[in-house]
Amino acid sequence: MQIRRAVILSLAFVAFVAAPFGCAALAQEQEAPPLQRWSFHGPFGMYDPQQLQRGFKIYREVCSTCHSLKLVAFRNLADPGGPNFTEEQAAAVAAEFKVQDGPNDQGEMFQRPGRIADHFPPPFANDQIARNANGGALPPDMSVLAKARGFERGFPWFIFDAFTQYQEDGPDYIHALLNGYTDPPKGFTLPPGAQYNKYFPGHAIRMPKPLSDGQVEYTDGTPATVDQYGRDISAFLMWAAEPTLDARKRLGFQVFVFLIVLTVLLYFTKKRVWHEVLHHPELLEPRPPTEYRRG
């Protein structure tokens, strides 16, 4: 906390110096979502399969009644770097969903239990039905939602984010949104059918508060609170949006080891090659390059 305070103070100073830019950034109308700790933050951060399984449970029991997950297939649940379900478990999940298939030999569409290769079927057949069932608001598809949402970090934070590898503004926003249902402040008139949310742009959100404490049963001793639900579903949605994150960071580490070794070797090669130019230019007679002395 001490360090954080020092950082904030020094940043306030920077913002003061960069007056025209800094002031505008500080005077944000909307409260910024509080930052959470994510297991997948940083160069070695990976998904926590237990958390993804809990998040998936929330999606299945709560979100999936309105929100589709069209780009994710059941087989993805068993992919490495995901919730770590076995293929049998993923097939069992698939079998619980009804998927439209066809046309059959009679030319008719029919419903069948889902297979592991199927994508998650949408809860509504089309956007119009979805709007009609939700008071005119369209529940967005959740496949890339964690990357499609975020918030302005403002100057100078966005510069530091490049160094601290902050990429979790999407999950932070979703977590904050799920915990941001409060009573509207005095003088704020809500349109009919809307709820007040501290973090939703414009504050009037059409989604009723989706989660309350104890709503989803956790069997592994994790506290069943909205705060925890919010973290788990956000982590799950981040995985749904970026299923290759684990593979990316693992390969990234290997690439960095390679590149650093290569760069160091090239640096010394360069030093060696340039040695006589810098220190013995009298030896530099025009000669074909192949004849230059070695060492």
Binding site: P20, F21, A24, P43, L71, N76, P140, S143, V144, K147, A148, R149, G150, F155, D161, A162, Q165, Y166, Q167, D169, G170, P201, A241, P243, T244, A247, R248, K249, L251, G252, V255, F256, L259, I260, L262, T263, L266, Y267, T269, K270, V273, W274, V277, L278, H279, H280, P281, E282, L284, E285, P286, R287, P288, P289, Y292
Partner: protein
């Protein structure tokens, strides 16, 4: 400044080939024996970095094109299929998307170096103009590439930018309709942008060949801006320039890899992960970061047509730098006033970049107008006048003299060689 040795093939096959197609001696004289000034600093490695990035963009782009579907109904999902189902598709796409950004990082460094050291001056005018053409081609190619994922920002950026042409009097609207291939941004627009996005990189390759050709005719500029005079001023391209280029390309790749592997969406906009929706305008339409200074100039001017003219002028004016700058001294090192005004100019461009990312209201507009004014005043007034009034510092007689006058380079242990007369 005669070259080193000419290529004499030893191998019988190479002798046979040399008499029929002297490609080996072309490569030898252009990339091995080619004389380069011995005092080039690391700002001169961005040419090699740009060549590398162009190659990387073409290779990743060709593979991405094998999996991409240029259709309004499938484009977004095909990009997501690349991310999820294509082997290492996420790597290809993040390399390509961040590669565009780092291509622009390198080109801005390259342009800034040219302006600082006066690389556009006689006899390098054509070389410089080819560079401005390359930059324009990059801008167009990058913009069309950004449209292809067909997210909200793709769609609205395409709408805003193509609509700029409607500011042209009389023929504006027909031109926009012609660009769109319809009466709104739609499937024909996406299709032609895809086609052109695939074509233009090869046009860039062609102009790069001319750019390198022109460079090899006039030779490289250098930090002193004094042409090499004797053999002491130059070193062979290989191994000296090559090893330096390769080393710094590796350093550049470290930065590039940081973004690709750890913060791949940092430079993008989250709205572009929402599929394009013509019925819903995003609250703020922002282009990619590398266009922000020009976007700020466009919005700073209240009149649409004048704004478009200023936007185009801000880039096209760069092509006239060789004639706008009346000073005969090349390097800013010996031009104290020019150096100050130029560094302010660079700061102004960065400031415009920040303002371009902010909503066009209140103080932001006023700041953008002031900075835009400086941008044009610098190019059109300060630059021509400076050459008439500025007193330059004394120039070194030669490159080797300047190297020796500055003393032994960092890390050196040996005293200056006996042959040197400081």
């Amino acid at each position: 400044m005669s070259g080193y040795s000419i290529y004499k093939p030893q191998n019988p096959f190479m002798r046979w080939l040399e008499r029929r197609l002297p490609v080996a001696s072309l490569v030898y004289s252009s990339f091995i024996a080619y004389p380069t000034p011995r005092n080039l600093n690391y700002w001169w490695t961005f040419g090699a970095i740009l060549t590398f990035m162009l190659g990387a963009q073409i290779v990743t782009g060709i593979v991405l094109a094998m999996h991409y579907t240029p259709h309004v109904d499938y484009a977004f999902n095909s990009v997501e299929a690349i991310m999820r189902d294509v082997n290492y598709g996420w790597l290809l796409r993040y390399l390509h998307a961040n590669g565009a950004s780092f291509f622009f990082v390198a080109v801005y460094a390259h342009i800034a170096r040219g302006m600082y050291y006066g690389s556009y001056k006689e006899p390098r005018e054509v070389l410089w103009i080819l560079g401005v053409i390359l930059f324009l081609l990059m801008v167009v190619t990058g913009f069309m590439g950004y449209v292809l994922p067909w997210g909200q920002m793709s769609f609205w950026a395409a709408t805003v930018i193509t609509n700029l042409f409607s500011a042209i009097p009389w023929v504006g609207d027909p031109i926009v309709t012609w660009l769109w291939g319809g009466y709104a941004v739609g499937n024909p627009t996406l299709n032609r942008f895809y086609s052109l996005h695939y074509l233009l990189p090869f046009v860039i390759v062609g102009v790069v060949v001319l750019h390198v050709w022109a460079l090899h005719v006039v030779g490289q500029n250098n930090p002193t801006g004094v042409e090499p005079k004797t053999e002491k001023d130059i070193v062979a391209f290989t191994p000296y320039a090559t090893v330096k280029d390769v080393f710094f390309t590796a350093v550049f790749c470290l930065f590039f890899a940081w973004f690709v592997f750890y913060i791949p969406n940092y430079l993008g906009h989250s709205d572009n992960y929402i599929p394009a929706n013509p019925g819903q305008t995003p609250p703020h339409i922002v282009p990619e970061w590398y266009y922000l200074p020009f976007y700020a100039i466009l919005r700073a001017i209240p009149n649409k047509l004048l704004g478009v003219i200023a936007l185009g002028g801000s880039i096209v004016l760069l092509a006239f730098l060789p004639w706008l700058d009346t000073s005969r001294v090349r390097s800013a090192k010996y031009r104290p006033l020019y150096r100050q005004f130029l560094l302010i100019f660079f700061a102004v461009v960065i400031g415009l970049g920040y303002l371009g990312s902010q909503p066009p209201e209140g103080g932001y507009v006023i700041a953008a107008r002031i900075l835009t004014a400086y941008y044009f005043v610098f190019l059109l007034i300060i630059l021509p006048l400076l050459g008439l009034f500025e007193t330059a510092k004394p120039l070194p007689n030669s490159i080797s003299e300047s190297v020796l006058r500055e003393g032994v380079p960092v890390g050196a242990s040996a005293p200056p060689p006996s042959g040197a007369k400081a």
